[in-house]
Amino acid sequence: MAPEPPRSEAHGRPRRAPLPPSSSLVRNVGRRLLVTVGLALLALLAFTQLDTPLSGLVPGESGWRIARAFFAQALSPALDYEDPSPGYRPFLVKVALGVWHTILLAAGGMTLAIAVGSVLGLMGASAFWEDREGPRALRSLRLVLFASVRVAIALMRSVHELLWAVVFLAAFGLTPFSAALALSIPYAGTLAKVFSEMLDEEPRQPALALRQLGASRRCELVFGLVPGVLPNAVAYTFYRFECALRSAAVMGFFGLPTLGLDLKLAWFDLHYAEVWTYLYALALMVVVFELWSAGLRRRFVV
């Protein structure tokens, strides 16, 4: 049993890590140089492997024309359809609905991601598994479980939500739920990774003090460890929500009724003023969300 906190903690005075001997400093410089050169070579290789020569980045004549037409509208976003037909809902209502569906999709995906990410984040923290008793077999099993949680988190993060979306849309068809699910998988993984890293960096003393007064393991973690990471975890979650808003908009390209779909259709119709309206709506949404979450965070943390 007997959790042994590191000596420096038990004594209440932190110990400073000794400076590495100078020879290892020299070696570090050498290693850093090696890494830098390696990365530069990698970048060069990447460029040579790209099929298009750099001159391909310069647009052709028609490209210039489209670009000019498009940017010419930047300061005059549409407030109504560029070619209205009777029976359409008012243009601004359509924009608002696009925003609304984007928010709904992001919120749905984030709700799932927060639920799964919090649980996995706690289970991915080493404090969750340390100092547990039991027969040797049980302890080995725990090690395996711990490793599996970490691997699962890494796998969830390694596939982009748009790829998940392609897979899910193929498998389950085009439903808001499949899109939210696609969004939630990498987001849950990222939240879990960041949460568990935050938990691992928290001082253990409060949790150990709660253990000493007889608290259960669950209570020890929830009350001794989690409060310390909560402000940062909440701030990070808000940031991820903002990313989810952008991602949810892009998922419209697959046909979901978010801003991305409106944007795509307006673009294909060459209605650049409408495209600008949607872009501004997207930007406004993110900015308003940012302001609102900053306000919440301030209230929460202070």
Binding site: G12, A209, L213, A215
Partner: protein
């Protein structure tokens, strides 16, 4: 109280603790009666913290045994061990408070040992009126009632010390262990903190063991002193019977640590 006279609150028998190859405690015998108050004195590094932790069931001795209210923590299962720990209030040297929680919440956590996760959450987010009253009274008792709803990390070291004491009392323990409770308090206030601990223990009928490295303070406030040096008990006597020879033995000048800790 269900203590009979011959029953001991705390007992260490031939206690030895070794970390790796380092022997920190050796052949320690100690018997503490219910309601008794004593101070562990000795230079830093002499094993006071380790002894308190062993007495509190926080670490198992390498050899020998400990008995808390007659029960050896090494022989208990997890559930029984938690029950024993509930009966011991521990004021850690590093306090072990949760910095971002408010003072009232930290004190409420003193009862976490008897609560489930849901019960604990309720005690923080929707505490009962009576518990809030109790916490307020406790904070009054330790002299910081105006800090009830402050965030704990905004308090000074001395105030946090009092929060930790209040939390230990809220736990309603039978035994109170305090590890260097004045280490982070300025000397002028140290006496007040020690007096607070001894008074509270007396009022509540608690057994109190405090480790202190200031001999002066220990002598002024405790009737029984246990001197520890390099992991061994060098004396265990009523304060009146402790003489200068004992102190010399405790802080022998060949002890290089004396220089750094200046007791």
């Amino acid at each position: 109280m269900d203590h009979t006279d011959d029953h001991l609150a705390l007992e260490a028998r031939a206690l030895g603790v070794t970390f790796g190859s380092k022997t920190v405690l050796r052949g320690v015998d100690l018997a503490v009666r219910p309601g008794e108050q004593l101070a562990l004195v000795g230079p830093s590094g002499s094993g006071k913290t380790t002894l308190l932790r062993a007495l509190g069931g926080a670490l198992h001795p390498t050899v020998g045994s400990v008995a808390i209210d007659g029960r050896d923590p090494a022989s208990l299962d997890q559930r029984q061990l938690r029950a024993v720990r509930r009966s011991i209030g521990f004021v850690h040297q590093h306090l072990g408070l949760v910095p971002l929680l408010r003072v009232n919440h930290n004190v409420a956590l003193g009862r976490l040992g008897e609560r489930s996760l849901v019960g604990g959450l309720r005690s923080v987010f929707a505490p009962s009126r009576s518990e809030v009253h109790e916490i307020h009274r406790l904070l009054e008792r330790v002299g910081i009632e105006e800090k009830l709803f402050e965030r704990t990390d905004t308090l000074s070291g001395g105030q946090q010390q009092r929060v930790a004491i209040a939390r230990a009392l809220h736990q309603r323990p039978r035994i109170l262990l305090a590890d260097e409770p004045v280490a982070s308090v300025d000397p002028a206030r140290a006496r007040a903190v020690i007096d607070l601990l001894t008074e509270l223990a007396r009022e509540e009928g608690l057994t109190l063991v405090v480790s202190i490295h200031s001999l002066e303070l220990a002598r002024a406030s405790f009737d029984r002193l246990v001197g520890l040096r390099a992991g061994e008990v060098v004396f265990d006597r009523p304060t009146a019977a402790v003489d200068t020879r004992d102190f010399e033995r405790l802080y022998q000048l060949d002890d290089t640590e004396l220089l750094s800790d200046g007791a």
